[in-house]
């Protein structure tokens, strides 16, 4: 792999950039791999990357039915934070956040991680207490957060309206090292690094069956033929139930559309990421200048990657109240993605009833921020069968009632 650098760009400029090589190879599948990962999204690619990097397992294929990074990796609002309440969540998301800090250098690919800071607004007394609780928990978890007062919120977000007629801003939970990254680049950077390790990223190849022998996986059937493997990882957010069904087990998840939208680009006016959970809206400004806005999930299950417009209306109303200037911007584009929702809104990183089949799903509305940590933890789970980051996230927890409920921290009414 030729390294990327300013020098390399300058060298190529002289010959009109005709000398660049492919970022990743486009191989035909081999007949057998040690590990197959279904799903070349951020989580799947990261899993493969850390299998190679941390455990030396490099005979790996990542199989993708569409184009890599084309699912929720390329549809999210790119927020990165780790200010979670429950210990297992905080451990996983903080691991992830810390991996983002050095990802560009690790991958030799600029993923533009920008620790610009994340504020979660407290707009009711209930939320104030909730975020104070999170701040206390985070302090003991080694996650740096603080509860800040409204004046500090205003300093960080000059365009905010502190005393809206409905929900005044009473403070906020501030994570200075949260922020955002370029979502596509995360997938592309991992794909390039995996390919460079000799792994095969196989796009336009749909898995049609999971082949088993006596309760144990032996391979998959695909639109490009049968491929054998020792271990199989299913990392297919939005299609998890479908692929698990091929492997012969059911998942405790529902699939719903989550929507987002962007405004037209404007000059910089907001440096930090702001989340307002009481009114259900969050917003950041991309490097291009677009205001990136996330909303809620639809109330019904579907796979269409579209959504209901009334959710967009609710989100926009909430943001106009929180940031009055938004009223005078225009919506450039809206889109949707399909998210897996579990009973406790926490992910599943787990062994399955089929021996040597592992599943990574259920990230709900917040999977992007977990990309590297999820890959790191999943790789350990697949290589060793367990690990401290994944132990709490097994799917048997729903049977035992051992939930990891984050709705407390998300301010969701209960």
């Amino acid at each position: 792999m030729k390294r990327y650098s300013a020098f390399a760009v300058a060298r190529e400029a002289a010959r009109f950039h005709t000398g660049w090589e492919r970022a990743w190879r486009n191989p035909a599948p081999k007949s057998r791999y040690d590990v197959i990962i279904i799903g070349a999204g951020g989580h799947g690619l990261a899993t493969a990357y850390y299998l190679g990097k941390n455990f030396g397992i490099k005979n790996v294929a990542i199989i993708e039915k569409g184009w890599l990074g084309g699912g929720n990796t390329g549809r999210n609002t790119t927020i990165i934070r780790s200010n979670y309440l429950q210990d297992p969540s905080a451990a996983l998301y903080e691991k992830s956040r810390s991996l983002f800090e050095t990802m560009s250098q690790d991958l030799n690919y600029n993923v533009m991680f920008s620790p610009r800071g994340v504020i979660m607004l407290a707009q009711t007394q209930h939320e104030v207490r909730g975020y104070q609780r999170t701040a206390h928990a985070n302090a003991l978890q080694g996650v740096k957060t603080e509860f800040i007062n409204p004046q500090r919120v205003k300093e960080l977000v000059p365009i905010i309206n502190l005393d809206g007629p409905r929900y005044p801003v009473l403070g906020g939970l501030w994570q200075a090292r949260g922020g955002s990254a370029r979502h596509d680049a995360v997938a592309w950077g991992y794909a390039r690094a995996c390919s460079d390790m000799g792994m095969d990223v196989i796009q336009q190849c749909e898995v049609t069956a999971v082949r088993r022998d006596g309760g144990k996986v032996v391979g998959v059937s695909t639109t490009k033929g049968d491929i054998d493997c020792d271990k199989l990882g299913i990392v297919v957010a939005g299609n998890s139930g479908h692929v698990a069904g091929m492997a012969g087990f059911r998942l405790p998840i529902e699939s719903v559309a989550l929507q987002a939208l962007v405004s037209e680009p404007i000059k910089p006016c907001m440096d930090v990421v702001v989340m307002a959970n009481t009114v259900h809206g969050y917003m950041s400004q991309s490097d291009k200048g677009e205001m990136v806005i996330g909303g809620g999930t639809d109330g019904y299950n579907n796979y269409t990657q579209r959504g209901s417009f009334h959710h967009i209306e609710e989100t926009v109303r909430a943001l106009v109240e929180t940031f009055p200037m938004v009223s005078r911007l225009k919506m450039l584009r809206q889109w949707g993605g399909i998210v897996d929702i579990t009973g406790d809104r926490s992910p599943i990183l787990s062994k399955t009833p089929v021996e040597n089949v592992f599943i990574n799903c259920g990230w709900g509305t917040g999977g992007f921020k977990a990309t590297p940590g999820s890959g790191w933890a999943m790789a350990e789970l697949m290589a060793k069968g367990h690990g401290p980051l994944t132990d709490a996230f097994g799917m048997e927890r729903f049977r035992e009632g051992r939930f990891i409920d984050e709705s407390v921290a998300a301010g969701v009414a209960h």
């Binding site: 760009v9 609780r133 000059k267 943001l319």
Partner: protein, 1004 residues
């Protein structure tokens, strides 16, 4: 230079001049101008700077597809960035400034010249700016952010208003060109209710400019006649200035009406968002001309041929004195003729097609003495901020210059693409038309509704019928098909006959010249706003970004504010060429709403400020407001946190309220508490399933405190249930829980126990409810007189109907404070009067109102749990020592099975205890108790947490409730809570009941 012609301008009202400002300069135009035409009439070709390289940008189009002409408009509360000049109607006093440059439009220090831009191809930022690590956040990114963006951020609050309209129709026709007009008329003739919307202020679309006849008459006459006919039909609604913004599932369409953008001083809302439910939809959205890819095609003065023609015909504006036409089709010849007829010079028509059979257009060109260069192309446009000439080459070659022609404008046409956005929004598929080189709607793969039938039909140019005669036939058929699809019988009519001169076939040209060298390809723009060139798409393909979505995201092609209306097809044809793959195999990126950007104001609609989420008010709300209420939002209600007197802090007020209620008499407005009537022969059975307690055995006249759990066993609500009669219960819920619990009940009744005879009604707002609390509670009621409220007549946990002080009342003997307490419900309309009566009668007994914080302290002193404090969606009643409220006799209740799961019965679950700080201080909210060591993830082990914490004036110290590992077994033990303030708080584990442990005070 561009200027106003002496004649022409069919849309102008020349006796109505208008003045406006651009970058501070006062300019003149006419009513009927767009901002674009008026700027061009004043020789203002340069209107902005591109996104990435800050290159000079001129207007290239005349409609919604314009990528360059974006300006800041208005001032203060009417300021808005990124307004498209081609769709902005000129009005007197309009003020606009250009965007994305510093210090000025003419001289921008941010400009990246052709040498520098070599170092900044597509995706260069993924390969650089990685070292040193901290520089991304602190150096590179701030610089990039400042250079990016377009218009300025608005600062002031929007002074305009917006509204939503709902509409229902059988057939919705989007687009008021000839096809849309005819389709609407044909559909309406069946009797169907038809709505026709058009994004501009004018009907007829391009037809009046492009010419032709309909049934022998000029097409303008057809437009005028058809509009008049439609206007006279009762079943037809016509809305111009209304854009079809998006098509959603089930025939739901967003229409975006710009009511006063063209007349900002007019009264009424600025925008109206139409939410239309249509039986069937016709997209008659026309087609958009494509640019050609040649070096220097982004220099101001290079414009779409159709736009050049529009400016001459519609607004009497010439783009230049000498305009070279460059084309691959016959349509652009019309532009040459229009210019010639206007007395302007056309030095050459550069036609990429080799000479062949002479079409009528070519013959006319010859007759007009125009020079046509067949088989030629433009090698390069000369000029910087304005075209100065073109270098001509052979289209088949690599760009060797054969001739240079001096000119000040270039009109280009690369063919046309149907506007398929609305067709595609909801899943309509496209088919590639090889002959015309465009994607058009695949009739067999329309978006489908619940019945599996297609609910969108494309008509006219939008369906690929570019020629007038074809478009009319197609639109007529679409109108009939839509009427039929909507359940009507189409009247047998014949399509009118359109006539235009025959055209020679177009020739797809994706690169000019076809073998252009690398330096030329690096100057051939695809996306003008985002600075994406042919070379960038080829680079993406070379690097493996082969999917059209990858190429788009890697190069940013089509991601600008025009969403690739001009660039997408050229870009994917370039990608297909680079991959040596047929274009249809490459496919398109996803079309997403809206068609063009729509205002957030319109999306939000009326619901802003005071009516964003209307505040629910109790009957006593105003009284509270005038008596010092420090409001707290609770659900959609506001509740007084405390009643603050002059000279008092909020904390002081709370302390005073607690002391007074314990010693004298407190009044609480409890009207917000949910009140659900559950009625029917199976009501008792139903409540037995909903509550953990046994409710069916409750006797009429009695009250019982109940707990409600989710299927997962977690506590979700609590409250007092009163049995009114054999079939009727009244369930009190928490303030925030009323709607949720009502929904919860309905869900179970409607989906699982639909055969149970039970009705639920939410009567929360029908009553005003006052808690009369404290040692003097009975005294004040007795003073008011009426029903017997003695201990004997109305015991603890009983209720009775009667009269108090002349008010019809229902009195509950329940207590959430541990004091003698009556909760009295009166009709909502009597609430304020009753409150006044209580305050007046209570004066001698020390009556004071109290707020939510006092309520919280009173209950915490008694060890009563609060939903949302002691519970957080993960707590089961057993955690809170509420086993007594769980019936052992019942076979089942919601949550019972879940509570038997292994983790729920785990003895390691944290349990409710009281906490007393060793030094009497107050524990911080949400603090965790630290244990020994760290866990496998390096996190400090924790053994408990604070759930509620207050300063108790009754006890003169901090008290708290918390959940602690093995808590009830560790009474007296001291554990420590590290605060986020750096202090560590030591607290002793105690019984959670701090006050009146025997419960004597409430039972007097």
């Amino acid at each position: 230079m561009s200027t106003r012609l002496a004649t022409g301008g069919r849309l102008l009202t020349k006796d109505k001049p208008v003045t406006f400002r651009f970058n501070g300069k006062q300019l003149r135009g006419y009513e009927g101008d767009t901002l674009a035409s008026a700027l061009l009439a004043n020789d203002q070709m340069l209107v902005g700077r591109s996104f990435k390289y800050h290159r000079p940008r001129g207007i290239v189009a005349s409609g919604a597809e314009e990528p360059n002409g974006l300006v800041n408009m208005g001032d203060e509360g009417k300021f808005e960035p990124n307004q498209r000049v081609t769709t902005t109607e000129l009005f007197d006093g309009l003020s606009a400034t250009s965007q994305n440059h510093w210090p000025s439009l003419e001289f921008d220090v941010g400009v990246i010249n052709k040498y520098m831009s070599r170092f900044m191809p597509a995706g260069f930022y993924y390969k650089t700016f990685m070292y040193p690590r901290a520089f991304w956040k602190h150096v590179y990114e701030p610089f990039i952010r400042q250079a990016a963006g377009l218009g300025k951020a608005p600062k002031a609050r929007d002074v305009d208003t917006y509204e939503h309209y709902h509409a229902f129709c059988d057939v919705l026709v989007i687009g008021g060109g000839v096809a849309g007009l005819l389709a609407a008329k044909t559909a309406a003739q069946s009797g169907a209710k038809v709505m026709l919307i058009e994004q501009t202020a004018h009907w007829g679309g391009r037809a009046p400019v492009d010419g032709g006849t309909v049934d022998g008459d000029p097409v303008e006459d057809f437009v005028e006649k058809t509009v008049a006919e439609l206007a006279s039909m009762e079943n037809v609604t016509l809305r111009n200035r209304t854009m079809g913004a998006g098509v959603y599932d089930h025939g739901y369409v967003l229409g975006y009406e710009r009511l006063t953008d063209h007349a900002p001083e007019a009264a009424g809302p600025r925008h109206r968002l139409w939410r239309v439910r249509a039986g069937h939809i016709i997209t008659a959205t026309g087609a958009i001309e494509r640019p050609l890819s040649f070096a220097g095609n982004d220099i101001p003065g290079v414009m779409l041929a159709s736009a050049v023609r529009d400016y001459v015909a519609n607004w009497g504006v010439s783009i230049g004195d000498r305009t070279v036409i460059v084309t691959n089709n016959d349509d652009a010849y019309l532009t040459a003729f229009a210019l010639k007829f206007a007395g302007l010079e056309v030095p050459a028509i550069v036609d990429a097609r080799p000479a062949g059979d002479e079409s009528p257009a070519m013959a006319q060109a010859k007759a007009l003495g125009l020079r046509v260069l067949h088989g030629h192309g433009i090698a390069k446009v000369k000029g910087n901020k304005r075209v100065t000439g073109v270098a001509i080459c052979a289209q088949a070659g690599e760009g060797a210059v054969l001739e240079e022609i001096t000119c000040d404008a270039v009109a280009m046409s690369g063919g046309w693409s149907p506007v398929v956005h609305l067709w595609s929004h909801c899943g309509g598929k496209l088919a590639w038309d090889d002959a015309q080189a465009f994607f058009k709607p695949d009739r067999d793969k329309a978006p489908t509704g619940a019945d599996g039938a297609g609910f969108v039909t494309a008509a006219g140019a939008a369906s690929g019928a570019l020629i007038l005669s074809d478009a009319l036939g197609d639109a007529h058929a679409a109108g009939q098909a839509a009427a039929k699809a909507a359940g009507f019988t189409a009247r047998k009519t014949k399509a009118p006959k359109g006539e235009t001169p025959a055209e020679a076939p177009m020739l797809p040209v994706w690169m000019m010249p076809q073998g252009a060298s690398a330096p030329l390809r690096a100057k051939a723009w695809l996306d003008y706003q985002n600075d994406v060139k042919v070379s960038d798409v080829q680079l993406a393909a070379r690097e493996g970004f082969e999917s059209v979505e990858h190429a788009k995201r890697y190069t940013t092609l089509g991601m600008a504010t025009d969403q690739g209306k001009l660039s997408n097809i050229n870009g994917l044809a370039t990608l297909a060429g680079a991959l040596d793959t047929p274009i249809p195999q490459v496919g398109t990126t996803t079309f997403r709403p809206p068609y063009t950007p729509i205002s957030m104001g319109a999306i939000g609609g009326e619901a802003r400020a005071e009516v964003f989420q209307p505040i629910r008010r109790t009957p006593m709300h105003d009284w509270h407001d005038t008596n010092g209420a420090d409001w707290e939002p609770v659900g959609h209600w506001r509740r007084p946190y405390a009643f603050v007197r002059d000279g008092e802090s909020t904390h002081d007020a709370v302390m005073r309220e607690v002391v007074n209620t314990r010693q004298n008499l407190g009044l609480l407005d409890a009207s917000t508490l949910g009140k659900l009537v559950v009625k029917g022969p199976d009501a008792g059975k139903f409540l037995d399933m909903l509550y953990t307690n046994m409710m069916s055995t409750l006797k009429p006249g009695k009250c019982r405190y109940g707990l409600m759990c989710s299927e997962n066993g977690f506590l979700i609500d609590d409250g007092v249930v009163a049995r009114i009669d054999e079939d009727t219960f009244l369930c009190h819920t928490t303030t925030g829980g009323a709607e949720r619990i009502h929904g919860h009940m309905e869900e179970w009744l409607q989906t699982e126990w639909w055969d149970w005879k039970v009705y639920v009604a939410n009567v929360t707002e029908q009553y005003a409810q006052v808690a009369v609390v404290g040692p003097n509670a009975r005294k004040v009621l007795e003073k008011l007189g009426g029903m017997d409220v003695s201990k004997e007549a109305l015991g603890f946990m009983e209720w009775a109907d009667g009269e108090i002080g002349g008010f019809k009342a229902r009195v509950y003997r329940i207590s959430f404070s541990g004091e003698l307490s009556y909760e009295i419900a009166v009709d909502a309309g009597q609430g304020q009067a009753f409150w006044d009566a209580l305050m007046a009668a209570g004066a001698e007994f020390g009556a004071m109102p109290y707020g939510t914080e006092c309520l919280h302290i009173l209950r915490a002193e008694k060890g009563f749990i609060m939903i949302g404090d002691e519970t957080d969606g993960t707590i089961i009643p057993q955690d809170l020592g509420l086993n007594w409220a769980i019936s052992k006799k019942k076979e089942d209740y919601l949550g019972k099975r879940a509570q038997a799961r292994s983790h729920m019965t785990d003895p390691e679950r944290w349990k409710l205890v009281g906490l007393e700080t060793v030094d009497g201080s107050t524990l911080p909210d949400g603090a965790y108790a630290a244990g020994e060591g760290v866990n496998a993830n390096g996190q400090r082990n924790v053994i408990g947490r604070v759930t509620s914490t207050y300063h108790s004036p009754t006890l003169g110290r901090g008290i708290a409730m918390g959940l602690v590992l093995h808590g009830p077994d560790r009474m007296g033990e001291v554990i420590s809570f590290p605060g986020t303030d750096g202090k560590t708080y030591e607290a002793r584990i105690v019984d959670p009941v701090f006050y009146d442990k025997e419960g004597e005070k409430q039972n007097v």
